[in-house]
Symmetry: C2
Subunit: 402 residues, 2 copies
Amino acid sequence: MTWLDLPPDSPFGTANLPYGVFSRGDDSPRVGVRVGDEVLDLSVVLDDPVFAEPALNLFMAEGRARWNSVRARIVELLTAEEHRAVVSPALHPLAEVRMRLPFLVGDYVDFYANEHHASNVGRIFRPEAEPLTPNWRHLPIGYHGRSGTVVVSGTPVVRPRGQRKPSGDAVPVFGPTRRLDIEAEVGFVIGTGSRLGEPVSTGEFADHVFGVCLVNDWSARDIQAWETVPLGPFLGKSFATSISPWVVPLEALEHARIEAPPRDPEPLPYLADTEKWGLDLALEVRINGHVVSRPPFSAMYWTPAQMLAHLTVNGASTRTGDLYASGTVSGPERGQRGCLLELSWGGKETITLPGGMSRTFLEDGDEVTITATAPGPGGTRIGFGEVTGRVRPALGRRSGRA
Amino acid sequence: MTWLDLPPDSPFGTANLPYGVFSRGDDSPRVGVRVGDEVLDLSVVLDDPVFAEPALNLFMAEGRARWNSVRARIVELLTAEEHRAVVSPALHPLAEVRMRLPFLVGDYVDFYANEHHASNVGRIFRPEAEPLTPNWRHLPIGYHGRSGTVVVSGTPVVRPRGQRKPSGDAVPVFGPTRRLDIEAEVGFVIGTGSRLGEPVSTGEFADHVFGVCLVNDWSARDIQAWETVPLGPFLGKSFATSISPWVVPLEALEHARIEAPPRDPEPLPYLADTEKWGLDLALEVRINGHVVSRPPFSAMYWTPAQMLAHLTVNGASTRTGDLYASGTVSGPERGQRGCLLELSWGGKETITLPGGMSRTFLEDGDEVTITATAPGPGGTRIGFGEVTGRVRPALGRRSGRA
């Protein structure tokens, strides 16, 4: 099917073709598409200046019809033998390029749309109460995060400092977080924005969302716990949010679409499922190379189409480059929990790693990697670029454990 | 002092000189400075392409030394008679220009740094509990808002729709908000950003903050109440945040600087006041032309320097164009409360307007205007451009009261 020397079961074959921004040596960043373990320089093979940009934004703003025609053209370039001579020199091994933040982030919204995660967090923090707040099954809970600290996979994460209040103490102390955590999430990138005052319906999801990436929403649980009442998470989250360098086009996820789970009570009409936008993505979370969790995105309560409809129902506009993430993806099993808060049950249970190591929360030097795959055509799998990051010690301190 | 025909007590004299972005007719937007009731086209009189930009961002990114030299040059142009012939044609009456959003907003953070406001809100919503949460006196509480819906003064505000749960009902209903409110706030605009992992100390405030604007953080109290637990305000705020078209340079507020109020307990060292950054700004809030409140910014508990130090203490970076607002400004007196939630005490008391009219929350057609002045040199006052907006009926509904 392609003149490339690509295994038929490659997770980055012609059924995937995720977009990213890369640079080689001192060259300026430009747009590429991943094919196997190579990146195709689109600024060379396609005649549109948007691919010479250092971000996907201008291309994403061109709209769904253009996304589809570009994708069809790339498939043609990679399959018709006649293009081989022109295309081959524009292919570069991933090992020889540096991946950049794929798009300029407009607003970043983080949802909380997974019932297992929200229930577990409720049980951990409020064991005496109902795990879910009364609003949870009526709307996708979300909040705005810091878009300026969204960083590309591979960016080191410095252990943040801040206020935390040790339980039993009367006053807070200042220092490095002792409860550095991850959140394995899936992110949705707005390609075509929407105007102020004009809600986006669930049926318009695919006209606005360009593609999907992986997100690690790093969290400092002790900073978050002290600051969060009454206005929600702030510094416990704003120090870094890592995303994968590759944005998988929505079109590549046709075979991953599934029915959303049954909801009770039935959501209000503006949240009704008009199309099937559950997604059967299989995530994996590794700490220092060891798999600690396999969160199933199929377990999400709210779909990304519902999240976008909710986000805009009050008339809020969206812009090219806006990013919204699902919130932590967890499944019903312990081995499917998408953050250490849940995996260690609030720090009470240790997570075993090979070599006699264990964790409750992250230690300096730990590397966390999230990957995912999705069903592709003919039993193949679509791969997501990994999102990875290593923890660096806090500024001016020997160690986050001090 | 100036060759301009300007009253000596003008709030927009040469001691002020706020920056904005304007357009005339079909001309492209460019940077101007307000002098009296005119705007001086800086793209004409200053030799720097940043002033031909449709936003202040490139100029703001040039840094504090450049801000000061440009300001000095503008004063020279407006005072030395020799420049009159060149400068005069570049002055345009405000009535003949259209003001635009003055800068591209990076991240928008809203604080909650006024003790009177936070205490009143606590008393209204949790009458049985301590008005302030335990963390309130230890850190400036804040959260991220939606930067994509920050709009310039004059932009109509469509009454948002959303979920609200009438008290006593088991399930939420969907419709236009019945509790549309304003929040009179002061906003601080980042000129020079800071890098990831590098906190900005309280003493570095003036190196980073370019200037100050007025903010109306429109709020739908019923939508906010239903969604806000556990992750904070979202759709109750994200539909619109209006800002004044003029950004007053920090330099113009030298005479407004005052000591911050005494704090108990003493803040942690990273929040220590190293310089005097309380600001004696006098705000006025009008509904349909009638003054309903005169909030004093001198009553703020936390200074803008402390807000920025807190915002970045976890290593979060800042960018040119980031905006952070103070939160509602209220004083100890009833006539100093900066939002209708407080003025109507949760909707229980009516606010009297002339002509036998009264309000608890806003009705369709209401126009809200916030203005402010600050002490200038020699007993004069520095003026802020007003931030105004009129409420339009909700989409697809007869009225927000339906």
